[in-house]
Symmetry: none
Subunit: 540 residues, 2 copies
């Protein structure tokens, strides 16, 4: 492995399964961890840190399961601290599960910061060096290859550079193949990373003949984790540790979904096969699904909004030459350009949308201006279509006169009663299908769920596909909240049929009415998809 600063290769080291899962609110089962590991393997990440076997039973089992279902290309890595003070590595039971994990690579983290040795480990500076040496030599003697994570590297170096350097020299002499600079508390800024990394690499290379490879591990507490890692690479580091979607404790780890395209597409390094790079967006969304965390729509590179264009001038320019308002071709990382509709929209947005929806419309068609007027009028009333494309599509079909009618809404009635702590909610709906009136009633734990249930009961015999529709998200925004309870309410409803998702909107001073509008349009749009076999947002 040639990893000196002259190579163009960067070794990506993923720690989503270990450091990433320290994120507050994130909890992965063994199955989840296996799914993620195999997905990262397919993405082409060379190192996948799976956990600290022994720290919890889950991580022990994860590595055993991985021996049954091995990764195709990536190296699974077990993570552990240096041995405890006062006993040898061979005697320390902590290292046994590391060996049983059966990985070729082990990452050992040790203390670089004198303060942590004394206050955290309650031992001497000399014993800490001995712990580093002994642990690495023991693992090497057991045939393992060792990555040494220098914890609190930058803080340690700033406080006591001489001692900090000694810890690294000890790790190198003991046989660690990689030395990783960790900004554990995440507060170091890029210019400091740059200065320290450059000085340290130079010093270590001068002091030893052993070829050493360097890595970087950063956290986002100053919102500079990505820049910190890039800076270190420019100073000669060749391993980059991070997590998918930047998951991690506190403010998260360096985000591989930003680092990989920055390194590969902007700086020209070689991280993963370009044919795999197009899976980056999908991988990001898949892992957020598995972790059951809402994806960040505004994430760099892979977010739903990362290549969304709103303003009218932007839109016409980006359509003529994407370079004008895009820093990168979204397709390279499997994302796509989106044209968003809003009251800042011009004619070009409308035309672009029409094309997406398969509606034949040209600039000179008076309908085009009618749609724009209607859009502005509705947005003035509080409608918002940028997050409710399905409702916008229905509006456009209405305008060009080809909106399909599946059912007709005649009315509804909601009864909601609370007495002595007991609540009853009952909804009745009246709809017409093919000229025939249907009346249905249902209960619910709130007025909207009762209405939704009644409506489905009324329609499912005519449209059996409805049975597969689900409401997957429900958002309420009070417009001009200053008007108190008389304020207008905007409701966004996201629906799914298992393969696709779409969002509809309703607005009214009456929250029940607004919700009902959105729910009704959600069902209608789902039926259009059903009849047209049309593609919207595919669930990965």
């Amino acid at each position: 492995m040639n990893t000196d600063s002259t190579t163009n290769r960067i070794w990506i080291y993923d720690t989503t399964l270990r450091d990433g899962s320290q994120r507050e609110g994130m909890s992965l089962s063994i199955e989840d961890k296996l799914r993620i590991a195999h997905r990262l393997d397919r993405l082409g990440v060379p190192f996948i840190e799976g956990g600290w076997p022994g720290a919890n039973p889950k991580d022990v089992q994860f590595f055993w399961r991985l021996q049954e279902e091995p990764l195709q290309n990536a190296q699974a890595v077990a993570f552990c601290s240096t041995r405890r003070p006062g006993k040898t590595a061979a005697e320390d039971p902590m290292l046994q599960p590391i060996l049983s994990a059966g990985t070729r690579w082990v990452t050992i983290f040790g203390k670089s910061w004198d303060l942590h040795v004394i206050e955290g480990l309650n031992t001497t500076l000399e014993e800490n060096l001995e712990m580093i040496r002994d642990t690495i030599e023991f693992l090497r003697s057991q045939g393992r290859q060792v990555i040494y994570d220098a914890e609190h590297w930058f803080d340690g170096y700033k406080h006591n550079p001489t001692y900090a350097l000694k810890t690294l020299e000890t790790a190198i002499a003991a046989g660690a193949e990689w030395i990783v600079f960790c900004d554990t508390n995440g507060g170091t800024l890029p210019h400091e990373i740059s200065q320290i990394t450059s000085t340290v690499i130079q010093t270590l290379r001068q002091n030893t003949d052993i070829p050493i490879n360097f890595g970087i591990h950063t956290h986002n507490d100053a919102e500079t984790a990505v820049a910190n890692a890039l800076t270190a690479v420019l100073e000669g580091v060749r391993m980059v540790q991070g997590t998918i979607n930047g998951y991690g404790e506190r403010c998260g780890n360096a985000n591989l979904c930003s680092l990989i395209p920055n390194l590969q597409l902007k700086l020209g390094y070689d991280c993963i096969d370009p044919s795999h790079l197009v899976k980056l967006t999908e991988t990001s969304r898949y892992i957020s699904e598995v972790a059951n965390l809402a994806p960040d729509d505004h994430a760099a590179f892979v977010g739903l909004s990362a290549f969304a264009h709103k303003g009218g001038i932007h839109v016409s320019a980006v359509q003529r030459n994407p370079l004008t308002y895009e820093h990168l071709q979204p397709e390279l990382i499997g994302n796509k350009r989106r044209i968003v509709v809003s009251d800042q929209a011009g004619m070009s947005n409308i035309l672009a949308k029409a094309a997406t929806f398969g509606i034949d419309l040209n600039k000179k068609d008076p309908k085009c201006r009618q749609i724009l007027e209607k859009l502005k009028e509705l947005e003035n009333q509080g409608y918002q279509f940028e997050a409710a494309e399905a409702s916008f599509e229905l509006l456009m079909h209405e305008a060009v006169g080809d909106r399909q009618t599946f059912f007709e809404i005649k009315g509804f009635h909601v009864h909601c009663e609370q007495l002595e702590g007991m609540t009853n909610v009952l909804a009745t709906v009246k709809v017409a299908v093919n000229g025939k009136n249907i009346l249905e009633a249902a209960e619910g734990n709130g007025p909207v769920s009762a209405l939704d249930a009644a409506l489905r009961k009324a329609l499912v015999n005519f449209y059996p596909a409805l049975a597969d529709f689900q409401l997957t998200d429900y958002k309420v925004r009070i417009l001009d909240g200053g008007a108190g309870t008389s304020a207008k309410t905007r409701v966004l409803v996201e629906s799914s049929n298992g393969q696709q998702r779409w969002t509809t909107v309703g607005v009214s001073t009456n929250i029940i009415e607004a919700s009902y509008q959105a729910v009704v349009e959600g069902l209608e749009y789902g039926l259009i998809l059903q009849t047209q076999g049309k593609e919207v947002v595919t669930l990965s």
Copy 2:
């Protein structure tokens, strides 16, 4: 204004209201914009860009309203492009609303990139220079001070440095006081920002005797917006443009909630008064509430998890010496350390709150633990007291056994019907005052306003003060939106008696029930204030 690179002062320029509101899914009313502007003013931000008057009617009205309710210290800034090709600035109607906005400062953005001049503006390179000159000179002649935003600066400079420099020299000669380097597409990396900024500042200072001030405006498309801005400051830039919470188009703008503490606490620059810096976390959360966007718990510095420590070694170490696992004292920016497993932090919080509310409580009182348990149970159910202190105060009075009883809630009934486009809403409430049952009914334009009206009718004879109470804000957030219409709803209601404001909270799967809880507590708290003559939040 001395802004050369030797000063330690950084001018923060907030564009949450203009560039920030380009974020997909963000939509601010004029009232929202005014609230945010005044909050930023109180934070001590010197420049607040309010919008582009003329681009939409909302921004025109915003600046008019701001003339009636002026900012105390900050400069409101109107934003506009250079005049259109082929006519003079004085003739261009686009500039009239800018003058009517009545701000001392105007930001003019112009093209630096030849590609954009030719492909975007469809004009010549010479005419673009003329547009820059003419627009700035015209505004200067009208007594305005001008900030010149060089759009696509870095891309433009990379493609054609000679022309790009000419655009800046033109702006400087025409009288712009600030030149702002904008990375409009957000794809530039820190090392490029550093090189270009350093070269350009040097070149421009060599070529002219006019003192020039430089600024930076970055976007987060490469997840390096914060680092990019910091880098530019280190190269001599003294104005930093960004938005609260990093809101903005696509992946957002540079996040002022990270930039301000990085600049002030880590790099030693002078951005805002240290006594205001402690309001940063509160400001971030307030603005996310107004924008009705869920706050990012993992945001650097101001996120709920930014200083959260999970069990074991971290916790004991951080309690002995916070430096070991914290890059910064959270209190400096108004955030707090959270120990996820221990409730020690919670206990001191309860005690601090009790003191604020004038409730006599000491650490050893078992009630203290009871309140904490109750609080945790309620927060687990979805209650949130950070934004609903009045409800929290009622909860504490309940716990210590001195909650006053003004009325007793017996039940309610809501009837909501829509038939042939006509809607009827009727609410009935049953309350008891001094053991006497009262039944009242009222209509409304929605279920909550009907309930509110019925409740007031029932109580106003007993408590005439109620006649002055108003619901001043009403917010709804769907918790676990993924559960669709069965999701839990949290309602925040802000009430006012004309002098004071207070906020209460309700949670239920039934939106009507959740709203009713919050409305009822709002009236109750208002009555406590009435009897105690107590001071809460004064109206801003």
